[in-house]
């Protein structure tokens, strides 16, 4: 029971991170109907920028942890958001209206480019990061096994919940959110009614990248190590989360992320660590075959 609870906590933490990345996939898919393969790399860049920001702050002598965290969060989100904007502007916007595979291939090219860009500039070796948020409390103790919830895990789960609530409100009740939903339904009609479609799409990428940056920061803090290849697996898993929750649905993305996190945690807790990634891919294939609309998604209508 205690072991189960511990895996539950680990899974929820991991799932929150996947959920944050999955929001970026799901929002972009909802609005322009393409999978942004480069999103995983944006998350990786977020992790790198956060580690660099921590180092710079350390040199500047800011050692009060909450202040450092807030500053790093802000810088990471803004710089990564610029990356998200630039990727859309350079690699996707010129391709609107091109043939079906063009944006996908461009996205893969972007992904390869960003991965190698970071590898060349920052080196291929994993970057270590000393733990910033330490400590925690014991939730339960039974049979000599203590269930531990660290402050960091709490912080990750709470941040995800707050961001999730914030962005749900943004989509539901601001003019930007309305414009976004309008573009999602019919881009041409939205443009005719005076919505700047290009700007709405750019904003979507910026928001997605900022959330991925938060996820990158969390992962840096949680695992204490970052390398240029982390975006690949995290990207696929977050995409699986988005599909599982129903692609295009914001709560679905977080739900899917949490489910994927739980599956991974329980799989490595009860079966084998080696095959934990395989379990996620199998879930992806099963969902696509059995329920392509996902848990909270709407069926897709094909228009001729």
């Amino acid at each position: 029971m205690a072991y189960f609870l511990q895996q539950l906590i680990n899974g929820l933490t991991l799932g929150s991170i996947y959920g944050l990345i999955a929001i970026g996939y799901t929002m972009v898919y909802g609005i322009i109907g393409m999978i942004n393969f480069a999103h995983g790399e944006i998350y990786m860049i977020g992790a790198f920028i956060s580690i660099i920001a921590f180092l710079v702050l350390g040199l500047a002598g800011i050692s009060y942890v909450p202040l450092a965290l807030a500053l790093v969060l802000l810088t990471t989100m803004s710089f990564t958001a610029i990356y998200g904007w630039a990727v859309e502007r350079v690699a996707y916007r010129p391709l609107r209206g091109s043939f079906r595979l063009a944006p996908l291939i461009s996205a893969i090219g972007t992904s390869i480019f960003l991965q190698n860009y970071v590898q060349i500039l920052q080196g291929a070796r994993a970057k270590p990061m000393p733990p910033m948020v330490q400590g925690g409390f014991t939730v339960l103790e039974s049979g000599g096994f203590a269930v531990h919830l660290s402050y960091l895990q709490l912080l990750i789960i709470l941040t995800t919940l707050v961001l999730m609530a914030g962005f749900s409100t943004l989509i539901a009740s601001t003019s930007l959110g309305r414009a976004q939903r309008a573009c999602e339904q019919d881009m041409q009609m939205a443009a005719l009614l005076g919505i700047d479609v290009d700007r709405v799409i750019s904003t979507t990428f910026v928001i997605g990248a900022a959330l991925a940056a938060v996820a990158g920061l969390m992962v840096t803090l949680y695992y204490g190590v970052v390398d240029f290849f982390i975006g690949f697996l995290a990207g696929v898993k977050a995409f699986t989360a988005a599909v599982l929750g129903g692609i295009g649905s914001l709560p679905g993305a977080v739900l899917g992320g949490v489910l994927i996190g739980l599956i991974e945690a329980f799989w490595s807790g009860y079966f084998s660590v080696e095959y934990k990634d395989v379990s996620v891919f199998v879930v992806l294939i099963l969902v696509l075959v059995l329920r392509p609309t996902g848990l909270l998604g709407r069926p897709e209508l094909e228009k001729v």
Partner: protein, 439 residues
């Protein structure tokens, strides 16, 4: 370039250039570039020992990046003015080259094959050159195989290397456990890989194209992880070694053979030389690649090949005409997988040793880059792209390091400017009636 911006470029070409607007635009682009470069280029982390990181500043790089983007952006805006005539005719150097290559297709093909056949016997040829040629040909074959899936059927397969791995491991296991030789195992490698393709494709191919891309990506990783962890069978990270080399009609390439076996050099009365095997292996892959090419070219003229291309252009129309999209896609996927498996079988016999490391996602990305750069559906383009991609790292360390960076950027650039590939000159595969004069 979109129609709207093309029109805008034409209008601005007639008017005087709006320098103020151009400069402002370029300055903005440079500002964004500087902001992008600041954290990752300007601040470089490095190990200072003891598990800690230090930081180095490179603000000069940031300045260079910003200046380069400024110049590039300005040049991009001025380009339509400088090349008014070429732009109006709607062609560029690449388009003219592609059209020329298309007219002389037969002659170029013959010359290319002649050169490939003669390569090992040319005066300047060396073992290094033949090895390089063999590597190029492996990628050409993989590119042609993936071209069936991506170029003809329009299905984006991001895990092609999985089938390559299946083919290689099929041969390695058959050889290790059942004593199969290369030629005996070759058909099995193709069949097993095709089987995997059909099993994976069957549930997934009825979905949208983007889903297929990510599922194949996942499948590629599954295969790699299984190969890595299923140690009792696959040898895990250590891989499988001592894979038998191919023989020439049963004549092995060795200095001395066991009792009752004639070696290649004894049979032909030649002096023994290790180069004989290298040259033979080169010809094996050349034959395999040419057979692949002939096979796909013939398939394109069959109803199934026409169905692939029709499906790529318009799935709904195909369905209305009574084509079963799932079956047609499945055949393309299976045939592509089979060709990948055959190439994998050859790879195993050439290396003599395989491990999961050779089948990482980077390989899939490389093969896809070859197909995309060459022009999806173009057989000649694949050859050129494969030569470029394989030989580039040989020109120096800098090229080796920046290879994938350049190719990633090139994939984006090609999609933006020449989405049909560098050398794609698209002609309809089938015309009804007389060929119209204007194309």
């Amino acid at each position: 370039m979109t129609a709207a911006s093309g029109l805008a470029a034409e209008n601005s070409a007639r008017l005087a250039p709006d320098w103020a607007a151009y400069l402002k635009d370029a300055a903005l682009a440079a500002l964004v570039a500087a902001l992008l470069a600041l954290p990752l280029m300007g601040l470089q982390t490095y190990d200072i020992g003891g598990g800690a990181l230090g930081i180095r500043t490179h603000f000069d790089w940031v300045a260079i990046a910003a200046a380069a983007v400024f110049a590039g952006r300005l040049a991009l805006r001025l380009w339509p003015r400088l090349h008014r005539r070429g732009d109006r005719r709607g062609d560029t150097a690449f388009a003219r080259l592609a059209a020329w290559a298309n007219r002389r297709l037969f002659a170029i093909t013959l010359a290319g094959i002649a050169l490939a056949v003669a390569l090992p016997f040319l005066p300047f040829s060396s073992r290094y050159l033949i090895d390089l040629g063999t590597t190029v040909l492996i990628y050409v074959m993989l590119g042609w195989g993936l071209n069936v899936v991506v170029g003809l059927a329009g299905l984006l397969d991001l895990g092609y290397v999985a089938f390559y791995a299946v083919g290689a491991y099929t041969f390695a296991l058959l050889a290790r456990d059942f004593g199969f030789t290369f030629w005996e195992a070759l058909p099995f490698s193709g069949l097993v890989a095709a089987g995997f393709g059909v099993i994976l494709g069957f549930p997934v191919l009825r979905l949208r194209g983007d889903y297929l891309a990510i599922v194949t990506l996942g499948f590629g990783e599954i295969i790699r992880i299984v190969l890595l962890n299923w140690s009792p069978v696959t040898g895990g990270p250590n891989g499988i070694s001592d894979i038998p080399r191919p023989s020439f009609l049963g004549l092995p390439f060795a200095r001395s053979a066991p009792e009752g076996v004639t070696t290649f050099h004894q049979f032909f009365g030649l002096e023994f030389s290790p180069d004989q095997r290298v040259i033979f292996i080169y010809f094996v892959i050349l034959t395999l690649a040419l057979v692949t090419n002939l096979f796909t070219l013939r398939l394109r003229r069959l109803p199934i090949g026409r169905a692939w291309e029709a499906l790529r252009e318009d799935e709904v129309a195909c369905r209305a005409l009574g084509i079963n999209p799932t079956n047609v896609k499945l055949s393309a996927f299976g045939i592509g997988a089979m060709l990948g498996g055959l190439a994998g079988c050859f790879f195993a016999t050439r290396q003599g040793f395989i491990s999961p490391e050779s089948f990482a996602f980077t390989e899939s990305a490389t093969i896809l880059a070859i197909v995309v750069l060459g022009g999806m559906g173009s057989q000649m383009g694949v050859v050129l792209a494969a030569i470029l991609l394989v030989t580039l790292p040989e020109f120096g360390r800098a090229f080796a390091e920046f290879r994938m960076l350049i190719f990633g950027a090139a994939m984006v650039a090609i999609m933006v400017w020449r989405p049909r590939g560098l050398l794609a000159h698209r002609e309809p595969s089938l015309r009804l009636g007389v060929r119209p004069s204007s194309t």
